[in-house]
Amino acid sequence: MRRLLCVLALSACVLAGFAPGAHASSAAVPTGEATPAAASDALSAPPATSEPAVQEKEPEKPAAPEDKAEGDSEAGEDDFDYDMEDVPAAEQVTIADPWEPFNRAMFTFNDRLYFWVLKPVAEGYSAVVPEPARVSVGNFFSNLRAPIRFLNCVLQANLIGASTELFRFMLNSTIGVAGLFDPAGGEEIGLLRQDEDFGQTLGAYGLGQGFYIVWPFFGPSSPRDTVGMVGDFFSYPISYLDPWYVWTAVRGYQAINDTSLQIGDYEAIKDAALDPYISIRNAYIQYRQKKVEERGATIPKSEPDVPGAGTPARGVGPEAAPQQ
């Protein structure tokens, strides 16, 4: 029984728990692919792609900032008088946290769970299984999550996204050897994974996060994203594995595998923070908010347009910002 609990713990932790934070820092995951030419690649690639992209965006830009930008070269100096009002408080995303004492307790619980159970197990596992194999296992589970992504693209009337997911699933399940590889996402085909889930769909329908919740095992969430999690559960084929302990074991394994690919991310976030609880809460809502805002298909190169970074976050007025 204790073992079962452990496995459950493991699974849950990564399922939702550290995901947003972990993603945020996944840049830290080292890769073995040494490309000395990378710098020069980076140098040569952009001009072609970046110029037109900027021009395409032109018409969408509000007139005022543009004018300012033009006058900028002369303005330079007097423009610099630092005015706190100038800080786009609008961009600040906040969330109510009426359950803070409970949430902080759960945060500590999940934190221990990670350091005492999940991380040691994942480290042992990655010592035995080489990285490419673990990446493939990750691909395999990701491929099985295609129904979640497909359904939510459909629910958000994102037909390009939905068909992308459909083709991805067909290609990766066949040429990609049951999803172990991701040929569809490669540069030649360029069908990128569409990260959509039920929480985002509800957000796209105009439902706000509500307030902050930290679930034991599952980590940062909100009423909206909790409902979303239930929706995701039912559209994930693994959830239908029978008997239940098979399901639990598979989810636990998935959690260990995922963790093994991002060891160090959570630690880094925690280490950078003065108050890790607040830092992760904020990272979670920033991350989810942008996910909801970036509606539409994820297409290679042209990149999800982060519409003018200065635009007010939805539902958060400038006056709403300083309190919290």
Partner: protein, 202 residues
């Protein structure tokens, strides 16, 4: 306006333009070029296998100071709370906060070296602020990393925020500083920072 007056104006305008181009070639660099140059310097340091970690850190610190405006970044992180700090407190705050950032982000940057960085585009924010969008491409995924830059007094583009996977560093710290300063004085905040720096060293 007479033609003569107009001519005169043109001459002046052109004169100024020519002077600007000649005197300050730095100003010609676009935000994207500036960020790319700095990021490439970072990559160069990271890829140099012959350097010791300590040397790398030192070199990264130099690049950081070139690339970022620590005061501007701190102002953004503190938001309105910046005004609560006295001149002396600010002087203490800046280097302490920089040390926290250096340690944590230094660790993370030193942990990887062989990702490909793709520089996508510039997106104007407002006035003299621009977001330079880049991606770190790894074997299994792409991580969007956006640098927000502003033009400083001498017309050079300096970073004041990094947005990694849609999470803004500035906004993340601001939420923490808001929380801390709601219950504590600026002096206590500085103590918290001091303690953090000490913990990181041990």
């Amino acid at each position: 306006m007479t033609t003569k007056a107009m001519m005169k104006r043109w001459v002046v305008v052109w004169g100024v333009l020519v002077l600007m181009l000649g005197a300050a070639p730095v100003q010609a660099a676009t935000p994207l070029e500036t960020v790319r140059a700095e990021v490439n310097k970072v990559l160069e340091v990271l890829r140099n296998k012959s350097l010791k970690e300590e040397v790398k850190r030192e070199k990264l610190r130099v690049i950081y100071n070139e690339m970022f405006d620590q005061e501007e970044l701190s102002k953004w992180c503190l938001g309105r709370n910046w005004n609560k700090l006295s001149e002396a407190q600010r002087k203490e705050f800046l280097p302490l906060f920089q040390q926290v950032l250096e340690k944590t982000y230094g660790d993370r940057i030193l942990a990887y070296s062989d990702e490909k960085i793709v520089f996508d585009k510039e997106v104007p924010i407002t006035g003299n602020r621009v977001e330079v969008q880049t991606r770190a491409v790894t074997k299994s995924k792409e991580i969007p990393m956006h640098y927000r830059v502003f033009k400083n007094k001498s017309g050079v583009w300096k970073c004041y925020d990094i947005v990694v996977e849609n999470v803004s560093l500035v906004m993340n710290y601001r939420s923490q500083f808001n929380e801390i300063l709601a219950k504590n004085s600026p002096d206590e905040l500085i103590n918290i920072l001091r303690k953090k720096v000490k913990d990181q060293k041990s």
